[in-house]
Amino acid sequence: MDQAPQPPMDQPRPSSLVVMIGPPRSGTTLIANTFMSHSKVAGLIEPWHRRRDEDYATTDPARLMAENGLTPSLGQPHLAIKETTTRGVNVDLSLKLLQTAADQGIYPALIVILRCPFAAFLSQVEASRQMWREQKLTEASQDTLGRWVNAQSRALKKITDNARVQHFRLISYEAFCAHPASEMARLMALIPERLEADQMQLRPPAGLAAGDPKTRAKAGRIELTDRSPAIAELIETVGPGKPLDFCQQLRKIVLDHVCHEPDAVTLDRLSRLVA
């Protein structure tokens, strides 16, 4: 029988490991930073994506912490990792990390972060043009939306197929912006810790980089950009077809169901959409 990989004896392990993941430009950094700014949580932002050039792929929790300059301690018993579905391998590594944690007796938990897909897509186009070094998605068109949908539906399928293996929460960027304290308190209860007042400063915790320059500019407050006119224009541009159908159904799930019904019911809806 295969043995679970064990960390070196001299590396202490966290008691909980939380993976926070969602499509890019879905508020993952804001929500993760807020979660990780809890005094008992050590956080890592995009450990694999940041080091993609070196094919970084560590999925042992203790080693991951050590290799990223974190030291598990009694004062910070929880480790949180934030990644996005930008690359399929980010999802694979996130799920592998959760499995490794469970095999080592660490409590694993998953938080799936979603946002209206039209808004996330348009935000990614904007970010790609203005902020990112890899300018892969700089135009909003039927073709680029189609490719985005294919990538995200594949990623969401992997996530929904594996979400029930551990305890999980779904959260939408929209719900978090509307009720940041109660939604963050709900996420913290998963580990479980009580919400701390400092978390509502909505700033990256010390030692963690903000996601991008725009996030830094927004630190301390939540600003939900109204993208309604751009979304209407995008829908007009894209026209009927599979990508538009997928985005409209996902938008309905995100806006009408996430945080409005039990997460398990919403996960079933997501599973059916991406099946």
């Binding site: 469970a102 551990q166 305890h167 109660s182 308190a185 709900r186 479980p192 997460d263």
Partner: protein, 286 residues
């Protein structure tokens, strides 16, 4: 204590805690609900209503079966004053179409020489040689009996029973909708109050048959749900299926080893299933 249970029990069950009305200190058992939902059924009570160790508490079951919004507002250790002292919750109960009030322990009521503290599971002595000290409820009553004497103990029981009735009268007056009192226990009313061998008897502590009759006179419909000799529930990791020692030696050093993975106190899934069926029958009877 909802969040406390999530900590101790997290390998066995996910309570899916949520926070209502912007209050990030008061965690309720999921699935989440809307305090202002029209036609809601609200369930209030202690850890039994919360559903410690129970994947589908009776509140969730009646919601799913009847297709109605149901709020599980159960809270560990709660007595009636826990709700009476929280205006947002009382507003919710006042607006509910129906409120199920689980039989809460009279032990969790402030009266006589005790004042409830925290989540009502601990008591503070207001008088006598222990004045100012705070003890867990069972230990507090045992101490009272041993150190203050049998007469003082009996007077204390009578005081909390009277206060318990007063609080239920307050609840009844402030809940205009239909009210159901759910007796949830391993003993029939009265059989739970045998104080010769124990200082508190069986849950709901100190609530006897006469008190239940008086509650019926306050406008509550009474549903009696008893699972005699409730078999203990083996606690199992919900991810791995392996037996889980929730009551581990480090945090519960006084507990016998053979009971570390057993729930023999809180209402088991079998009792919740029975309660759901009885409640649904009662709800549909009118």
């Amino acid at each position: 204590m909802g969040i406390g249970y999530q900590g101790t029990d997290r390998n066995v069950i996910d309570y899916d805690l949520w926070y209502a009305d912007g209050n990030t200190r008061l965690a309720f058992r999921g699935p989440r609900g809307d305090l202002s939902a029209p036609g809601a059924i609200c369930c209030i009570g202690a850890a039994q209503t919360f559903g410690r160790f129970v994947p589908r508490p009776f509140a969730q079951q009646i919601g799913e079966i009847l297709g109605r919004p149901v709020l599980n507002l159960g809270f560990s250790g709660a007595g009636p004053e826990f709700y009476l002292g929280k205006p947002p919750l009382m507003t919710c109960l006042a607006g509910a179409e129906m409120v199920v009030v689980q039989s809460m322990s009279a032990r969790s009521v402030s009266a006589g020489v005790f004042e409830t503290r925290g989540n009502n599971g601990v008591l503070r002595f207001l008088d006598g040689p222990r004045k100012g000290q705070v003890l867990k409820a069972q230990k507090a009553y045992r101490t009272l009996r041993e150190e203050y004497g049998e007469d003082a103990f009996r007077a204390q029981v009578a005081a909390v029973q009277a206060a318990w009735l007063d609080r239920h009268q307050d609840l009844a007056a402030r809940i205009p909708g239909r009210k159901i009192f759910l007796w949830l226990s391993s003993e029939a009313p009265g059989d739970n109050v045998k104080l010769d061998k124990s200082a508190v008897g069986t849950f709901p502590h100190f609530v006897d048959a006469e008190m239940v009759e008086k509650v019926a006179g306050m406008g509550f419909e009474v549903v009696t749900c008893v699972l005699k000799d409730m078999p203990p529930q083996v606690l199992v990791n919900d991810r791995t299926g392996v037996v889980e020692q929730v009551y581990n030696a480090r945090d519960f050093p006084d507990r016998p080893d053979r009971t570390r993975a057993l729930n023999g106190y809180y209402a088991t899934p079998d009792l919740h299933d029975l309660a759901a069926r009885k409640l649904i029958r009662q709800i549909l009877s009118v």
